[in-house]
């Protein structure tokens, strides 16, 4: 953060002809509104797959669900759920620490979140390997991999964003001022979304 602001500061004296500062016409800042809208889009993408799920399970499926011969490792997935949920708390902790100017806390929080997220993904992939059916096995296989895979892809994107936040945190960026910690806050919001989405996916796919 320091280095960044210095660089900007140096550029200023050169004749700087730039755009006028935009008028801020709403209380919400751009980045936060942007990520919220992006989450709406993402939620609708899940919506498309849930719609498919509804048709496959409720409309055109006759027998039991999951169909005979399919079994889901609910317990493992449950533990995995707990792991992912706890990462929501750690990312929150990281943000709080950033707000208070607690650099160590921010770094630890982000790091723990990242590790928890990776563990989740690792267990998920492991589950795929041992689950005993593939996306080609009936409609159940397709939608199971469709929903959990879509979610997995989101975890991956979330981890990528968190990696950036981690790198920046370790390289001394971010600060307590609201506009200096958007880089923690925005991935954090996204991460919360990934968690909430998992709770829904887990409930629908594994429990219902």
């Amino acid at each position: 953060m320091e280095s960044a602001s210095v660089a900007v500061g140096q550029a200023e004296p050169h004749e700087h002809h730039g755009p006028p500062e935009a008028h801020q016409s709403s209380r919400i800042d751009r980045q936060t509104l942007g990520i919220l809208l992006f989450i709406v889009t993402e939620a609708m993408l899940f919506g498309a797959f849930f719609a498919s799920y509804f048709f496959l399970r409720v409309v055109s499926n006759e027998g039991p669900w999951p169909p005979e011969g399919f079994e889901l490792p609910v317990a493992v997935a449950g533990v995995n759920t707990a792991i992912l949920i706890s990462s929501s708390f750690t990312v929150h902790w990281a943000l709080e620490a950033t707000r208070k100017g607690n650099r160590r806390g921010m770094q630890m929080g982000l790091m723990t979140t990242w590790l928890l997220g990776s563990t989740f993904l690792f267990i998920q992939i492991n589950e795929y390997i041992h689950i005993g059916f593939s996306g080609r096995d009936g409609a159940f296989g397709s939608i199971f991999y469709g929903l959990t895979g879509l979610h997995g892809a989101h975890v991956l994107v979330g981890l990528l964003l968190l990696s950036f936040a981690n790198i920046r945190a370790w390289r001394g960026h971010f600060g307590p001022k609201a506009k200096d910690h958007l880089g923690v806050e925005v991935p954090g919001i996204y991460w919360h979304f990934v968690d909430v989405m998992w709770i829904i996916v887990f409930t629908v796919v594994y429990i219902l």
Binding site: S3, A4, V6, A7, V8, Q10, A11, E12, H17, G18, P19, P20, E21, A22, H23, Q24, S25, S26, I28, D29, R30, L33, G34, L37, F38, V40, T41, E42, M44, L45, G47, A48, F49, A51, S52, F55, L56, V59, S60, N61, P67, G135, R136, G138, A139, F140, G141, S142, I143, Y145, G146, S163, F164, I167, R168, W170, R171, H173
Partner: protein
């Protein structure tokens, strides 16, 4: 050359494309080799070694182009480079071929690219009509024919109509609301560059084994899940076009919410801004549905999942439900921005405030809400749940009400006006009101289940969609292009040629699409390469009119190109409009404003003595002095000068 490769730009983009494709290809080969599969799988739905590079190649191109340079730096936590604005604004035509973050440059990039695709799509249409001029098979065989109408529609919808509106709004919307740029300029540039990728994917499907995708723009499963390789290119093209339009919509929403000039309350926003706000709401929440469903088709094709394979528990109709849950809103995505353009054009050239401004804005919101509740009117005969038909019929017919409100309000705006027909933009606006009314009426008929049972999937539908898409959307696009041409290029176009273009287009359009209603009602189905001899005469007439329509567009092209280069200089405000974009020079200064304007009144206060919409920066002091005359009445001045203020 070596230098060119290091700099972000097309050369590095090409390299990125090659590297990306090679990576994707290698990945497939390696993975298949490891899993002991045949390395090249060439079932027609397979070809992973071509499908994966069709994803990674374009991504490599974007990286090479420089779309992610800034973000990479940011992610790596390196010190931010001070914003030197080197990617902002265009100094020569070459800058239009670069990754540029200036909304004005992006707007032009969008418009030129989409019009290129309009021409390509139009040429394909000419081929279609040539084949249909006579019964029997003359030019193309039925297989190729299926590819032609599918690519025609996909190109027109996904890489012309939807994005050209994003292009027009990109240019004028930030100016209109007094913002220096869009909220996320780099995302904006990225949105644009995904667009040519989508178009090229659609077109390159002509080159792959099995030919272009041929399951229609609707790509119904399971026809699409079993179709040749080209279909995968459709699936992917839709993803790029969809991502592009979601990113732009998000950008518009954030820009409109957070970057309006001081004093610009929601009820002081020009209707074009309202229209793009509503459109963006539709895009953000509906487009993911088509993304999702095309992913499912792709999975069914390449990974052999069973989303739509009835024999393995899949559900065929779920494709149509999910598809139309996007694609009905999509038809309004293609119309609402046009409504906005028409409001601007009509009020300016009729010199009157828009009649019932608030109801106009509310009607837009009403359409957005209702749009999500009518998708199954495309499925009245599909064999879906029978009980869903009547509720969907009621909502469908109700959506005609807000649509009607808009027509009536424009009509009322014309009363007691001072109506100028000298601008081609106004001609297209008035032409639009007529043709769109017809399209709306046929829409209401289609909304009635018993009528739809008869005419669904016939040429009546083709007539309806072209009355609303050509007579509707395309007319508004022309109106918008003519209206803002002076602003965008700093030149005036030739009104005489404009009028020729308008009348030829109108006659060609009516001649082409009116008879389609009749042949459809009498029994000619859509999407056929041949038809019963009894429809021969009408089809010949349709084809001849359509060639006229095609020729008319050449007039437009000529007018635009020549005027852009050699047209007389435009003043800042040739139409004496009130909205902010007209108060800056033509073309606008590189950063739009020196100082953000202050909005003090509604956008269309024509004829209200002393009323103003906005006070431009630096003008404050002058305004206090007694004004010599009603502002704006003296016509635009200070055109070519760099004076950011424009106007008198």
């Amino acid at each position: 050359m070596a230098v060119a490769i290091k700099q972000p730009g097309l050369a590095r983009g090409a390299l990125g494309f090659i590297v990306g494709s090679a990576f994707g290809f290698g990945l497939v080969v390696a993975l298949r080799a490891i899993s002991g599969l045949e390395i090249f799988q060439t079932e027609q739905t397979g070809y992973p070694h071509l499908v994966v590079p069709a994803i990674t190649g374009p991504l490599g191109f974007l990286v090479g182009l420089g779309a992610f340079d800034y973000w990479f730096r940011w992610a790596a936590g390196r010190p931010t480079i001070p914003e030197d604005h080197s990617q902002h604004g265009a100094k020569s035509w070459r800058d239009y071929f670069k990754f540029n973050t200036d909304h004005k440059v992006i707007g032009i990039q969008y418009i030129v690219t989409t019009f290129f695709f309009f021409l390509v799509g139009g040429l394909i249409a000419m081929l279609i009509r040539a084949e249909l001029a006579q019964p029997g098979t003359q030019i193309v065989d039925p297989g190729v024919y299926n590819g032609l109408f599918s690519t025609h529609a996909a190109i027109m919808i996904f890489v012309f109509v939807i994005p050209v509106f994003a292009g027009i709004a990109n240019y004028v919307l930030p100016l209109m609301i007094g913002a220096p740029d869009m909220a996320f300029p780099r995302l904006n540039a990225l949105s644009f560059w995904m667009l040519p990728i989508a178009g090229i994917l659609f077109l390159s499907s002509f080159l792959v084994p099995g030919g272009a995708f041929d399951a229609g723009w609707t790509g119904y499963a399971p026809l699409s899940t079993g179709a040749p390789l080209g279909q995968s290119f459709f699936n992917l093209g839709v993803q790029f076009a969809g991502a592009s339009s979601v990113a732009t919509a998000l950008n518009f929403l954030v820009t409109i919410v957070t970057m309006r000039a001081p004093g610009m309350t929601f009820w002081r926003m020009p209707l074009l801004v309202w229209a793009n706000l509503s459109t963006s709401l539709l895009v953000v929440a509906a487009t993911p549905f088509i993304a999702g469903v095309q992913f499912m088709v792709l999975f069914d094709r390449v990974l052999h999942t069973n989303f739509f394979q009835a024999a393995f528990g899949g559900d065929v109709l779920s494709y149509q439900h999910i598809f139309w849950f996007y694609s009905h809103p999509a038809v309004y995505i293609m119309m609402l921005p046009g409504f906005g353009i028409i409001s601007e054009v009509i009020s300016t050239h009729a010199r009157k405030p828009i009649f019932g401004y608030r109801l106009m804005a509310l009607a837009l919101i009403g359409i957005v809400v209702l749009s999500y509740t009518v998708w199954a009117h495309h499925m009245f005969v599909s064999g879906m749940f029978a009980w869903l038909r009547v509720p969907m019929m009621i909502t469908t017919l109700l959506i005609a009400v807000p649509t009607g409100i808009k027509i009536f309000s424009w009509l009322a705006t014309l009363f007691n006006s001072v109506l100028h027909l000298r601008s081609t933009a106004m001609l297209f606006a008035l032409g639009f009101v007529t043709t769109f009314t017809i399209g709306g009426i046929s829409g209401v008929m289609l909304g009635m289940v018993p009528i739809d049972i008869h005419v669904s999937d016939t040429y009546f539908i083709v007539a309806h969609i072209h009355f609303v898409l050509f007579g509707g959307s395309v007319f508004t696009i022309f109106a918008g292009i003519y209206h803002w041409f002076p602003k965008m290029t700093g030149r005036m176009y030739d009104e005489k040629l404009g009028r020729v273009h308008f009348y030829l287009t109108l006659v060609g359009m009516l001649g082409t699409f009116i008879p389609m209603h009749w042949v459809g009602m009498e029994g000619m189905p859509r999407r056929v390469a041949d038809y019963a001899a009894q429809f021969g005469d009408w089809n010949l007439m349709i084809s001849i009119s359509s060639f006229l329509l095609g020729i008319a567009q050449l007039v437009f092209l000529y007018n635009m190109i020549v005027s852009w280069k050699w047209g007389p200089r435009a003043t800042a405000n040739p139409w004496r409009a009130k909205t902010i974009e007209w108060q800056v020079s033509s073309p606008p200064p590189i950063f739009n404003f020196d100082e953000i304007p202050r909005v003090v009144g509604g956008p269309y206060e024509f004829g209200v003595p002393g009323a103003r919409h906005a006070i431009m920066g630096g003008e404050e002091a002058e305004v206090r002095k007694p004004e010599p005359a009603v502002v704006g009445a003296a016509g635009g001045g200070g055109g070519g000068s760099p004076g950011e203020r424009g106007g008198p």
